[in-house]
């Protein structure tokens, strides 16, 4: 866990300090049904050694954002606008060759399902060694040694023999460790972890999270951690970004956002999440409705069709005017700061107990 905590209202680190800076990112897919605005005006920054958590429902654009950072979208039907600056280098306009040099080297990614994300046809060792050979020009032998070293580091027992195993011979947790080893093999400065623990059971999940934290300390990398699990986030992330319908709806330090959320969507997320020690009688409250179509997003605030508080906003602003997201600790909602606070305390907090 990062020691650097921020006070409320402070802006997220920007400028030279931030390692990855995404500003006003817009990603669109053209389909036969029309244009899908998968990400719409998203901005965030991550500094070295810090962890940014991104939460949101399925289809809120979390993963698309991060794939776009790595340039893994399909250039043919995807338009990317805005800026992605990694360590001072602009990525949106970078060539495929330049991106290849970055991927796996400066930026690495951990995928959600290690079973499908690892190739079944090659040994774990080979898959770990491959990027090392490519990016450092190491020989096969060196790469193999490095793979064993990495496996040791992520806590695989008997790494010398397991290195020649195939992914299907690993258990789920071991696979995820191997995946992490693969991601970290070139000491990346930025690690994007896309729901790295979703497919694992809880005990393994904790081990993996610990592992990630330890490794972050050791390497000092920045981590972007994507999940829909607020519990995991509270443990991992320094800062938090809540996404809805391709946009950021709330931002702030993790503790702050979780303790005093300001956006009705975040409230919804929190109340739909079971808590340890919560009352058994207390029913979970899911967010009504379904996530919106990104083909044809709702006008105004994209959350308004599902929002219980639109009545509190004068006029029909919710459905006509898109609420902006301020700098730093902020939430994109038309409710006044006061309203946000009272509603949370009066209506939401009791349910979280």
């Amino acid at each position: 866990m990062s020691t650097l905590t921020k006070t409320e209202g402070e802006t997220a680190p920007t400028g030279p300090e931030s390692f990855l800076s995404v500003s006003d990112l817009r990603v669109r897919f053209s389909t036969e049904d029309g244009i899908v605005k998968a990400v719409d005006g998203l901005s965030f920054d991550v500094a070295r050694g810090r962890t940014l958590g991104i939460v949101g429902e399925s289809g809120s654009g979390k993963s698309v954002t991060n794939l776009t950072v790595l340039g893994l979208h399909n250039p043919k039907n995807t338009t990317v606008e805005g800026e992605i600056v990694l360590d001072g280098k602009e990525l949106v306009t970078a060539t495929e060759k330049e991106m290849e040099k970055l991927r796996g080297n400066k930026v690495a990614m951990i995928f959600q399902d290690p079973l499908t994300a690892l190739s079944p046809y090659y040994t774990v060792g080979r898959q770990i060694a491959e990027p090392f050979m490519k990016h450092t020009g190491a020989s096969k032998k060196e790469a193999r040694a490095r793979a064993i070293e990495m496996l040791t580091k992520v806590g695989i027992p008997q790494p010398k023999s397991r290195v020649d195993d195939y992914p299907h011979q690993f258990s789920g947790g071991m696979r995820q460790r191997a995946m992490i080893a693969m991601a970290l093999v070139c000491d990346p400065d930025l690690l994007i972890a896309d729901e790295p623990t979703t497919a694992l059971d809880v005990t393994v999940q904790a081990q993996i999270l610990d592992l990630l934290k330890d490794l972050q300390q050791e390497f000092g990398s920045a981590i972007v951690f994507i999940t829909h699990d607020l519990g995991v986030i509270s443990e991992m992330a320094d800062d938090l970004l809540v996404m809805y319908a391709g946009r950021a709806v709330e931002r702030g330090s993790t503790a702050e956002v979780l303790r005093r959320p300001r956006h009705p969507y975040t409230w919804g997320l929190l109340s739909s999440m079971p808590r340890l020690g919560g009352s058994i009688d207390q029913a979970l409250t899911p967010i009504p409705g379904t996530p919106p179509s990104l083909l044809n997003p709702p006008s105004g605030c994209p959350f308004h069709p599902r929002c219980a508080f639109t009545g509190e906003v004068p006029g029909d602003r919710c459905s006509t005017e898109r609420p902006p997201l301020g700098e730093g600790r902020a939430a994109a909602c038309h409710l006044t700061a006061e309203q946000k606070q009272t509603f949370f305390i009066d209506k939401i907090q009791p349910r979280l107990r």
């Binding site: 897919f29 389909t31 899908v36 729901e195 996530p291 083909l295 044809n296």
Partner: protein, 344 residues
């Protein structure tokens, strides 16, 4: 929890495609309360190639169904030996080839006349297509029904039943298909035949149907079995079981609706391949015989006289290519509409 966009939106630049968006489209529409069937239909309607091919295929079926009517309007039939009729004294030359150019095409005989016997090619083709299409529909239906039943039973009951049905399927799969068709057509025909009366066309049709049916259902049975196996473990089936629904009800209400689409897609592949197999049998000389008009037999005749009268083969050939092409395209479109992830 798996969010489709997470998986789909990630294709490599060479590979990624419109798939994620389509999935998104599905989501979109489903919010508006459309059933998967309606969605498929919507997607299908947008696919221009698919719609055109569907029209062509429907046209073929229409023409086949209406063959007698068309023949009546046109004034000929595929059986009369026009060279024998006094109205057409000069249809065939001394070598029994059509007298006119382009295989004897004329206002009277649109697609020309058959060498040797002087039958009308246009109606022969119409009726030939009719024979093939009818047969193919029947065979396809039989194969689908058999395949579905066997696949369902072995998938649903599992265990011993599944094991033995699997072995039986293996057994049938080990038959060399082409050789089997060839070897057993004469045998099966002979089984039905009275030694004296003419073998009626329907008996031959039955024989062909039986032979094709015999080796036609296994692919579908396997497909259905594996679908049922996965479905059986799904929550809604479990739920139905727990709530005490009878197996029959589970099959009918929970499982069947979920495998209809793959069956449909598979059927669009079985049908044209059946037509080709029937044509193949007649081409080889073990399928339909004179005087039944049949597509494959026209190729056999055509191959014989190809050099003298290439036009004879032209119309059946082009008709077959167009038909198979449309059906292939249609199959692809149906599959895409059903399962947008795979494919093109």
């Amino acid at each position: 929890m798996t969010s489709p966009i997470d998986i789909e939106g990630s294709g490599t630049s060479a590979a990624a495609d419109d798939a994620p968006d389509r999935v998104k489209a599905v989501e979109t529409k489903s919010h508006e309360g459309r059933s998967p069937g309606q969605l498929m239909w919507l997607r299908f309607k947008r696919d221009r190639t698919g719609v055109v091919s569907a029209c062509v295929v429907i046209l073929y079926f229409l023409v086949s169904a209406l063959a007698p009517l068309i023949a009546k309007l046109y004034g000929k039939d595929p059986y009369t030996l026009y060279a024998q009729e006094p109205e057409y004294p000069f249809l065939l030359d001394d070598f029994a080839m059509p007298t006119g150019s382009f295989g004897g095409m004329s206002g009277d005989f649109w697609f020309g006349v058959e060498p040797k016997l002087g039958r009308d090619v246009f109606t022969m083709l119409l009726y030939g297509m009719r024979t093939s299409l009818y047969m193919a529909v029947v065979v396809t239906l039989l194969c689908v029904v058999t395949g579905v039943i066997i696949g369902m039973v072995s998938g649903f009951f599992g265990g011993r039943v599944d094991y033995w049905l699997g072995r039986i399927t293996d057994f049938f799969l080990a038959f060399p298909q082409q050789l089997f068709f060839i070897a057993f057509m004469p045998v099966v025909t002979a089984m039905f035949v009275s030694p004296q009366d003419e073998t009626p066309t329907y008996l031959r049709a039955v024989a062909i149907t039986l032979v094709m049916w015999f080796l036609g259902w296994m692919g579908l049975a396997r497909l259905v079995r594996s679908s049922v196996l996965t479905l059986r473990e799904r929550e809604f089936v479990e739920a139905a079981k727990v709530s005490g629904a009878s197996p029959w009800r589970i099959v009918r209400k929970e499982i069947l609706p979920n495998i209809v689409t793959p069956i449909l897609v598979q059927a669009t592949y079985i049908l044209p391949s059946t037509i080709l197999s029937i044509a193949f049998l007649s081409y080889i000389g073990v399928g339909f015989v004179e005087p039944t008009p049949d597509w494959g037999r026209m190729f056999a005749i055509g191959a014989d006289v190809y050099e003298q009268d290439p036009m004879f083969m032209f119309f059946p050939g082009v008709a077959l290519v167009v038909f198979v092409l449309s059906f292939n395209l249609l199959g692809d479109s149906v599959r895409d509409a059903f399962d947008p992830k795979t494919g093109r």
